[in-house]
């Protein structure tokens, strides 16, 4: 009896637990207790998310009326295959990073600020999960700001003083992005009189060709592209990722931009409808050009970076290009590729940034010249780096291959052979920048601090290796990820309209 009641409340618990935990961390202000509390909560999150995904796969979408107010009047939490999958991804990443966080945070953040770090971490987690789970356009904005504001603080906690400027720049651009989104939502609200996604999707048909709706689409597109760091709007990302503490970078890089992609997908496919966005309007060529520009320009810039963390940040911009490319193709296979890459990129970037965090723990930085020969001193860490790096390149047998395979198939299906070649071509650029690190780390004699470095404690190695192993496991057997992604793509094309 109690258990079924509890099961009904899962969608609310998914968001409320980390929110409550964040408040507790701030009140307790003891770093060990805060870490234990954060770990417990972040491990409860994947349990809840997986239970909901199983329920969605067997029974169908879950609709939860928050506070008992029936949708569309109250705020609805709605879990279907698309965001169920995303919730699992965010919560699993959030949990895997926690055991790793204890040592890394202790080394990188001042003692009296560590409890606050965990507080902000939980707030950020709550915001991202809330953005993914809600079916209310304005509620999504509020959660977006909760996650963004806590993210700015996480970044500003970095040791480097440039982290402060990076956090400030991100605050300015992130707020502009969120405000553009809320302008779009305001126009839609004025035209349809509702904020509920499902309700909006039904009412928008009557006013589809009106100017405010077109303007709303433009505002939401630009706003979310700022948040997901699509190529010309990516300027906040490299500094933010470079300056943030290792744990924060690993977490933000693998989750934050993904949720922005999800919200864009939700608006494109579920609310505006694929036919309106991709057939009546030139969204495909715009996204396609920017995606391809991201894949090449950001990869080329990545090659010339002296700081490995910064290099991976630019690589993230390039990888976001693959994901938006999948959206731009607007075919079930292309979209499947985009969604699979969303998942896969989180795994490999998580592993890469965590391996770098291990390096930073031992040699105090991530400059490439300081990492000479580190592969010989920290073989286990750098082996994980190489595996995740191969995955980033897209070597067969790793997850990167799976997503690029789907994207290339989607491009060929659309009749764009040249695009398939461009996908392969940009992967070659990844060979160059990952190859540079591998060459320096493994084939040079260790010097300076790198000569005395050793592999980090197991609490940091195991989470890094779980992600690196997942890069191979889901690469060899893509049945689960590609299967769910294909179902998610079908659900998106089916739309919310009954």
């Amino acid at each position: 009896m109690i258990s079924t009641q509890l099961l009904d409340q899962l969608p609310a618990l998914q968001v409320c637990l980390p929110l409550a935990g964040a408040a507790l961390c701030a009140l307790i202000d003891r770093r060990y207790i805060a870490w234990v509390l954060t770990t417990l909560i972040s491990f409860a999150m994947p349990v809840i998310a997986v239970m909901m995904l199983i329920q969605v796969m067997t029974v169908g979408p879950i609709s939860y009326a928050f506070g008992g107010w029936e949708p569309p009047f109250g705020i609805e939490y709605r879990v279907d295959v698309v965001n169920g999958f995303l919730l699992v991804l965010i919560s699993v990443m959030g949990a895997i990073i926690m055991p790793y966080a204890l040592r890394s945070v202790a080394a990188e953040i001042a003692r009296n600020k560590q409890a606050w770090f965990y507080c902000m971490y939980l707030l950020c987690l709550a915001g991202l999960l809330g953005m993914a789970i809600t079916a209310d356009a304005f509620n999504a904005f509020v959660f977006m700001e909760i996650s963004s504001l806590s993210m700015y603080v996480l970044i500003a906690l970095g040791r480097d003083k440039r982290a402060l400027v990076a956090a400030y720049q991100y605050l300015i651009l992130g707020t502009i992005g969120a405000t553009l989104y809320v302008i779009g939502v305001g126009l839609l609200f004025a035209m349809t009189g509702t904020l509920n996604f499902g309700d909006m999707a039904e009412r928008i048909v009557a006013v589809e060709q009106s100017r405010p709706v077109l303007a709303a689409l433009a505002f939401i597109t630009v706003g979310m592209c700022l948040k997901l760091a699509l190529f010309p709007l990516h300027v906040w990302l490299p500094n933010a990722y470079t300056g943030a503490p290792s744990v924060a970078t690993a977490f933000i890089a693998s989750t934050a931009t993904k949720v922005a992609v999800y919200l864009l997908l939700r608006f494109y496919f579920s609310i505006f409808g694929a036919a309106f966005v991709f057939e009546d309007l030139p969204v495909t060529p715009i996204l396609l050009v920017m995606s391809v520009a991201a894949m090449f320009a950001a990869s080329i810039v990545a090659i010339f970076q002296g700081n490995v963390k910064r290099m991976l940040a630019y690589s993230s911009v390039a990888q976001m290009g693959y994901i938006t490319l999948g959206i731009a193709l607007a075919t079930p296979i292309g979209l499947t590729g985009g969604i699979v890459h969303l998942f896969n990129h989180a795994l490999m970037k998580g592993a890469l940034f965590m391996a770098l965090g291990c390096v930073a723990l031992r040699i105090g930085g991530c400059r490439l010249d300081a990492m000479a020969g580190i592969g010989r001193r920290m073989p286990i860490t750098m082996a994980a780096f190489v595996i995740a790096g191969l995955s980033l390149i897209g070597v067969p047998g790793t997850v990167g291959f799976v997503s690029k395979w789907y994207l290339a198939l989607g491009a060929i299906e659309a009749g764009w052979w040249w695009l398939a070649f461009l996908i392969v071509g940009s992967s070659l650029l990844a060979v160059v920048y990952i190859g540079r690190v591998v060459e320096v780390a493994w084939f040079r004699a260790p010097t300076g601090t790198a000569a005395e470095a050793t592999d980090p404690p197991l609490s940091m190695l195991i989470p890094t290796w779980i992600l690196a192993a997942a890069c191979i496991a889901f690469g060899l057997d893509a049945g689960f990820t590609a299967g769910v992604a294909a179902e998610a793509a079908d659900a998106l094309f089916a739309g919310l309209r009954q």
Binding site: F138, F141, V142, E145, L149, Y152, V153, A156, K161, R162, L164, V165, A167, Y168, L171, I172, T175, I176, T179, V182, I183, G186, L187, F189, A190, G193, L195
Partner: protein, 123 residues
């Protein structure tokens, strides 16, 4: 000409919104002083409050509390509630932004963006 003037006058609230929006965004882009940028950001956000609130006003509408008059016209309370939330969000953003600027001033000794970038390049 008259049509244009009257269309501007009829929708003056929208024009004010658009002016504030563009002016705010311009200040964010054009100013190098980090505090002034935040002022611009605040103006930009405030324009959105107006965007939500002004279509929510119904002429002759009363507060949405049920009264006996069957012909009563009620205003929609939702835009006001949304904007109350958005104001809190905006407040938090500006507060955090100013907090960051204080820290930047402590560390760099300036809040001018170009001077900060100059100092970062030296290292």
């Amino acid at each position: 000409m008259n049509g244009l003037v009257s269309s501007i006058l009829e929708h003056y609230n929208q024009w004010v919104t658009i002016f504030l929006m563009v002016a705010g965004l311009y200040v964010v882009v054009a100013r190098g002083n980090m505090v002034k940028k935040l002022v611009g950001l605040s103006v930009f956000q405030t324009s959105v409050y107006l965007l939500y609130i002004s279509p929510g006003k119904i002429l002759g509408g009363t507060a949405p509390i049920l009264i006996d008059d069957p012909n009563a016209v009620y205003s929609n309370p939702l835009p006001h509630v949304l904007i109350l939330t958005a104001i809190v969000v905006g407040l938090a953003t500006i507060a955090l932004g100013l907090g960051l600027v204080v820290r930047i001033n402590e560390v760099y000794g300036t809040v001018e963006e170009d001077e900060i970038f100059e100092r970062s390049d030296d290292e």
